[in-house]
């Protein structure tokens, strides 16, 4: 009779094991826990783009602030010439810009000379391009690498963040529908 008491730790252990196995294999929890180590959820979703005042990369003398991002639904792409993945996604952004998608750039911890040359060579999909040589805006945006792409609404509030190269699949599955939803909402708000 007393023997059965001794089994309690074993039973608890097996239950825990089952819980862990289930959690590890569960798709949703995997996303929530960000088991994919490259993708951390952004702490800034639902918050406005942080305050900043930094020079423009391609308009000499102009200072850009968070207010310049307001007024249109837009993507904010954090990029740099030292980042090979940024090169990979650049042509896709060119294509998106041609389709009328509003894209702003944050040139993150880069050499501005090299950055301007890169835009001359590869094309410039960005409407505004912020120069962030120290990565100070990057820190306030919770950026920890490039490329990262934020989706903001007309009030400059961040709705989504994608880490890694944006391509057809990412646009169709993740960014595009959200962008469209924000556009629709902005349209409805503007009409009445």
């Amino acid at each position: 009779m007393r023997r059965s008491w001794m089994l309690i730790p074993l039973v608890l252990f097996v239950l825990l094991l089952a819980l862990f196995m289930k959690t590890l294999n569960d798709k949703k929890t995997q996303q929530d826990l960000a088991i994919d180590p490259s993708a951390l959820p952004s702490a800034l979703i639902g918050k406005p783009v942080p305050d900043f005042a930094l020079p423009s990369l391609d308009e000499p003398g102009r200072i850009i602030s968070q207010d310049d991002f307001k007024g249109q639904v837009a993507l904010i792409n954090v990029w740099a010439t030292w980042c090979p993945t940024c090169r990979a996604e650049h042509s896709f952004f060119n294509k998106l810009a041609e389709q009328g998608v509003v894209i702003h750039g944050v040139n993150y911890k880069d050499n501005s000379e090299a950055a301007r040359r890169w835009l001359d060579e590869l094309g410039n999909p960005y409407q505004l391009n912020v120069e962030d040589p120290q990565g100070s805006l990057g820190v306030n945006l919770g950026v920890y690498g490039a490329p990262e792409t934020f989706l903001v609404d007309t009030a400059g509030v961040i709705h989504y963040k994608y880490i890694g190269a944006v391509d057809d699949r990412v646009w169709n599955d993740e960014l595009g529908p959200r962008y469209q939803a924000l556009l629709d909402r902005a349209g409805q708000e503007a009409q009445p």
């Binding site: 007393r2 702490a43 820190v139 919770g142 920890y144």
Partner: protein
């Protein structure tokens, strides 16, 4: 011989090369200590198994710079950690905050230890009681009488 000494020296010095090196000036020794305490408690978002004190990733350098800047502005440890959490999420804490969601994390080990001790205590008590009871009970009535008489005879002699 001197070569051997060199080798030993190199091996001893090697661990020092692991920590990232910046040159920061601090107003007080206390600030310097706090800088190391905070930056070893913050997790680097890029290289996720290192704290920002050990990591050489560019983002860790930036975050150390921010910690240093905020220390200079006289902000408290808590304010600095909150600043990081606001930007990078709870993820950056190596020491998670005490919230309803992390209760289990903080208290489960102590509770389990306590539970283990209680379990052990109950088990020992029971065994002791059983032993005490069985010490005499395993003899039959006749045997107990015989034992009693044997003991009495011993006393008489």
């Amino acid at each position: 011989m001197s070569r051997r000494i060199w080798l030993v020296l190199l091996v001893l010095l090697a661990p020092m090369a692991l920590a990232a090196i910046d040159t920061y000036d601090f107003e007080t020794e206390e600030q310097r200590k706090r800088f190391y305490a905070i930056s070893s408690e913050l997790r680097c978002p890029k290289c996720q198994n290192q704290n920002i004190a050990d990591s050489d990733a560019p983002i860790a350098t930036d975050l150390r710079r921010e910690v240093h800047r905020m220390l200079g502005e006289g902000r408290s440890n808590r304010e600095i950690v909150d600043f990081m959490v606001e930007r990078y999420g709870e993820f950056v804490r190596y020491k998670p905050a005490l919230t309803p969601a992390t209760m289990v994390l903080w208290f489960a080990p102590a509770a389990m230890l306590l539970g283990g001790f209680v379990f052990l205590l109950v088990l020992l008590r029971r065994r002791q009681r059983a032993l005490r009871a069985s010490a005499t009970q395993h003899l039959s009535k006749d045997e107990q009488q015989r034992l009693q008489s044997l003991l009495e005879r011993e006393e008489d002699a």
